[in-house]
């Protein structure tokens, strides 16, 4: 009987430990496990320019622009666009091939270096898409509806 009580107490202590640990983790983990920052966070954090980071957000509508640049004698197409979290915006410049799913109004994650305030030089561009799946026809109907409203 007594021994059983002892075990019960140990298990209870263990449970509290576990709960305590989980609470600590849940409150502190967000920062560390995050895959990318939003533009707002980038502005708040004051990240050094030598630091490779990832920034994610929506590609702002009608912000995509391309221009030809000459680097080391080769003609390369520099792509620039703006990503936004609807509070802050960040201008991204990128040389390379965009993923197929890259579209204005869609999510994107870019990886690279912060050049100066509001400017970002991307090394990689990853498309991030949302959880909606539908056939094109329905999409059209939906967007028509949205437009009406």
């Amino acid at each position: 009987m007594k021994k059983k009580n002892k075990r019960l107490i140990t298990i209870l202590i263990f449970m509290t430990f576990f709960a305590f640990g989980s609470v600590i983790l849940l409150f502190n983990l967000r920062e560390n496990l995050i895959f990318f920052y939003s533009p707002t966070e980038v502005f708040e954090k004051q990240i050094e320019t030598t630091q490779m980071i990832r920034v994610g957000g929506m590609v702002k509508n009608e912000s995509l622009a391309k221009k030809i640049k000459t680097i080391e004698g080769r003609q390369l197409e520099e792509i620039s666009f703006v990503i936004t979290d609807f509070e802050n915006e960040l201008v991204i410049s990128y040389i390379g091939i965009l993923p197929d799913l890259f579209k204005e109004g869609q999510g994107v994650v870019v990886e690279g270096f912060l050049k100066n305030v509001g400017k970002f030089e991307a090394k990689t561009v990853l498309a991030k898409h949302d959880e909606n799946y539908m056939p094109p026809e329905i999409k059209d109907i939906k967007s028509i509806k949205d437009n009406k409203i």
């Binding site: 983990l29 967000r30 496990l33 995050i34 895959f35 990318f36 939003s38 994610g56 965009l98 993923p99 197929d100 799913l101 890259f102 579209k103 869609q106 994650v109 990689t124 561009v125 990853l126 498309a127 991030k128 898409h129 949302d130 959880e131 909606n132 799946y133 539908m134 056939p135 094109p136 026809e137 329905i138 999409k139």
Partner: protein, 239 residues
């Protein structure tokens, strides 16, 4: 009542009856499902044809989690009640689960290339899924490394129970932290954000996989039971 059914011998007899039925269902569903996957469903408005990978990826991902949950529940059972059938089931489940996890990872990477633009990133969901695979591998290794099967069962149960921590992380990592992987489309509280025309093949495939899983599991468990029987007879043969 449950323990009555859980008698290995009775279980074996039951499985002999069930197994052909489940296998047939699985095959029929698979054929129908494959038709719907490739011909009977529309392309996505954004991804186009690549969306069809979903019909493999998502069921595999669900089963990788579900099978682990089964193993975990059986492990708790085997630790608390020391029931042999629970051991047999978790032992038989581990390789199947590992296969599903591997399939998830592979199909995910294959899908990731056209959609995200990369095979692999270290975001929370993908990493934790990879950890799941490693845990599965650990379970398999333990199950085979010890000569003494009952010891192996005990140890792998312990490992499986520790590994439970990983499950909620896989499941909700997309909600807790910002990840590249998309948040839940179907398994969420509001209505699914996938069009019904795409949901249909997904569900057919899911059920097909489910029945496949059940029939493979039954075969494996039966094999295990027979093996143990042989062992008992071998060990108890008198001089």
């Amino acid at each position: 009542m449950i323990f009555n059914l859980a008698n290995p011998l009775r279980f074996q007899r039951l499985t002999e009856k069930i197994e052909p039925i489940t296998l047939n269902i699985a095959i029929i569903l698979l054929l129908v499902g494959l038709f719907f996957c490739f011909f009977g469903s529309p392309p996505d408005y954004l991804q186009g044809e690549t969306v069809r990978i979903m019909y493999i990826h998502v069921p595999c991902a669900w089963f990788s989690l579900m099978i682990y949950s089964i193993i975990a529940i059986c492990s708790i059972f085997s630790i608390v009640f020391k029931h042999t059938l629970a051991d047999l089931i978790s032992r038989s489940c581990a390789p199947i689960g590992a296969c599903f996890t591997l399939a998830t990872l592979l199909s995910g990477s294959i899908w990731g290339k056209p959609t995200w633009g990369t095979w692999w990133v270290w975001d929370a969901r993908l990493t934790s899924e990879l950890v799941l695979l490693v845990i599965y591998l650990g379970l398999i290794i333990i199950n085979n490394a010890y000569e003494d099967k009952s010891k192996a069962d005990r140890y792998s149960s312990i490992l499986a129970i520790i590994g439970i921590i990983n499950l909620p992380i896989i499941k909700w990592s997309v909600d807790w932290w910002s990840t590249l992987h998309q948040p839940a489309s179907i398994s969420k509280f509001s209505s699914p954000s996938i069009d019904p025309s795409m949901l249909l093949p997904l569900f057919i495939m899911t059920f097909s996989f489910f029945f496949f899983f059940i029939s493979i599991l039954l075969v494996r468990v039966r094999g295990e039971i027979i093996q143990r029987k042989i062992e008992v007879i071998r060990f108890n043969r008198m001089v």
